[in-house]
Amino acid sequence: MDAPTLADRWAKERSRHPLVFFFVQRIVTMVLMLFVLGLGVFGLMSLAPGDIVDNYVRSQMLTMTDFRSNDNAVDPQQIAEAKHRLGLDRPFYEQYFHWLKQVFIDHDLGRSLISRAPVLFLVSSRMINSIVLNLISLVILTVASFSLGIWLSSKAGTKLDVAAAFVSLFLNAFPGILLLLLLQMFAAASGWFPVTAYPTDNFEGNPTGFGFSYLYHIFLPLLGAFLGSLGGSLRLIRATMLDQLGQPYVTALRSRGIAEGRIRFHHAFRNTMNPFITGSSNLLADLFSGSLILEIIFSYPGIGRLMYEAVLQKDINLVMTNIMFISALLLVGMLLSDLALALVDPRVRYQKS
């Protein structure tokens, strides 16, 4: 009679702590997904023609000025040795398990296969740059779009609102790459702003000077990113705000003589948070992942460019570290946004319906 009682207790516990069970289940799924993802990355890497040693050899052969075919410049034995040393001659799942052991048992993320620098150092130094840029952009965007959106929703129906709706639609539809290119062209043509996004000064020598120079350098890329995403979020906020203001409960509040500002901020605004919390699940991952196109156009040393080069060069240690980290953050973000939704909105409950 042991088994049924266990099952009973399981069901009982489950109905008593639905949230806990929900999250435990999610976390287990998450870990499994990450495991499969890593396997997939190694599989894809091994599917790709040529590996990092082949790429290296090819680039060496291209740079050799007096290459003659019967020169034994590239020793096949050396190539085989190099491949063996890097473990590239083994099947991909063995490489994957080796990587897992290296990370979780030896606590070592390994070295970049190209530059021989520790992966942790490379990723963390680049990631700080990306986080700073993304954080500034996020704060400005959130503050601006919420205040503008709420303010515009109070002007609904006026000419100003029509103009703002058009501008935000325009910004939303405008291709981001072109916006950045145009801004860079503007910087080069006017000479008022630098065309690259990272200062050449040293941080240690002169932190304040570096800070100002940094803000000066990132102004245009930030403006581009800001304008690119302002349109979308402004539209969303305005639409949800107007949706809420049309609800019967707002009429009821108004009929009781509650001040309009109080209705807006304490009642309608709180209810507009829902879609944003659901939509913010990838916020955490976005903060850490950088924006590739922006970094390439303005040659900003962020994580996006590092990853781009790593993927193209098949630098597996670097790629794995970053993809696993970003994906884990994405999953955690999804989990946190579910949790936040349950905390903010009393109607959301994680029970079996």
Binding site: T29, M33, A173, F174, G176, I177, V195, V311
Partner: protein, 358 residues
């Protein structure tokens, strides 16, 4: 006039966008006729030439004409206008012979000069939007490039929407294990950073492909990355619709469940689906541009707007010295804006709470 046409005319922005798009797609279909030259034809002595059409001169009076330009500095590629030397531009001019739709040779173009007919004479070729650094006509390249840039959106949306409909619809309708498996699959694909997945797939499969293959590959990759989001949306809507009485009736009449799903439930969502097509198309066009910008999309000799932007419009010095090379970017902006304006109109129509502004 139909009802929807009347409503359309009342929204000038969306109506104008529709006209612009129709014109562009027609131009795409007849680009062999409209473009004066083959997109890959090299004019050796005309590299980086600015647009050279003018409408008035003392010698020839009013009318389309081309002023001869001669290079004054072959390092910075600067040209000077030659005084008094003009070439008239004809409509339906005899020009280079190109295969029309790959079916029959066509040597008459909408406009052109006598450049091809007498190479000895001083007739100048016409370059509506100038030339690039190899002396290729930017206008012809834009027209031929639209074959890729304008179709990739519809093909891509078709692929990703089909995937999303099948998987999202099944997850929503059958629920249970199907739902769990499909939703985990969606989450998994969302989990992989999209750009890196694209990079991976592209670098694996990219060696020695012709333009048609890489076009298909880009479309498939972009739609593979894009479908899970739509599938989740469709699943939610199917969930809502399947509780309604007509579905229960259909089930009582023992209709096969797949035909309930696709004949009765999916049509209920048609307005949303049309909307997501309209808003999805510019997304794919920009996706192709981004890939081409990274050098992973369309490459020479095939031509698309993204590859033109990547080739000519990415270096600042190039853009400042030869601003006409930005022309494909302007076309890109026009197309994405037009699709968004039409999408905005459709969104308003699909929204039951929305009332037409008087």
């Amino acid at each position: 006039m139909n009802g929807w046409m009347k409503r359309m005319v009342r929204r000038p922005l969306a109506f104008g966008s529709l006209i612009v798009l129709v014109v562009l797609y027609l131009a795409m279909a007849f680009c062999e006729f409209l473009a004066p030259y083959d997109p890959n034809r090299l004019f050796e002595h005309y590299s980086d030439l600015p647009p050279n059409l003018s409408w008035y001169s003392n010698e020839m009076g009013f009318g389309p004409q081309v002023q001869t330009m001669s290079m004054v500095n072959d390092v910075t590629q600067q040209y000077a206008r030659v005084k008094g030397e003009y070439t008239p531009v004809h409509l339906f001019a005899q020009g280079q012979t190109v295969p029309m739709w790959g079916l029959f040779p066509l040597s008459i173009h909408l406009f052109g000069t006598d450049f091809d007919r007498d190479p000895q004479a001083k007739a100048q070729p016409i370059f509506l939007f100038g030339t690039d650094n190899l002396g290729r006509d930017v206008f012809s390249r834009i027209l031929y490039g639209s074959r890729i840039s304008l179709t990739i959106g519809f093909v891509g949306v078709f692929l990703s929407l089909s995937l999303a409909l099948v998987f999202g619809g099944m997850a929503g309708y059958f629920g249970g294990v199907w739902d769990w498996i499909i939703m985990r699959l969606c989450e998994f694909i969302i989990l992989v950073p999209g750009l890196y997945l694209i990079l991976f797939l592209r670098s694996i499969l990219s060696d020695h492909m012709d333009s048609g293959q890489s076009y298909m590959l880009i479309t498939v990759i972009l739609s593979f990355v894009g479908w899970p989001g739509t599938a989740r949306m469709i699943r939610g809507m199917v969930h809502a619709v399947k509780r309604q009485d007509f579905v229960a009736n259909a089930r009582l009449e023992s209709m096969p469940s797949l035909s309930i799903l696709f004949r009765h439930i999916v049509p209920q969502m048609s307005s949303i689906l049309i909307l997501s097509v309209t808003l999805g198309v510019p997304g794919f066009i920009l996706g192709e541009t981004a890939l081409s910008y990274l050098g992973l999309g369309i490459v020479d000799p095939a031509v698309s707007w993204g590859s033109m932007i990547n080739r000519d419009a990415t270096s600042v010095s190039n853009l400042i010295a030869f601003p006409w090379l930005f022309a494909p970017g302007i076309f890109l902006v026009i197309v994405t804006l037009a699709f968004n304006f039409i999408g905005e109109l459709l969104r308003d129509w699909a929204d039951p709470n929305w009332k037409e502004a008087s």
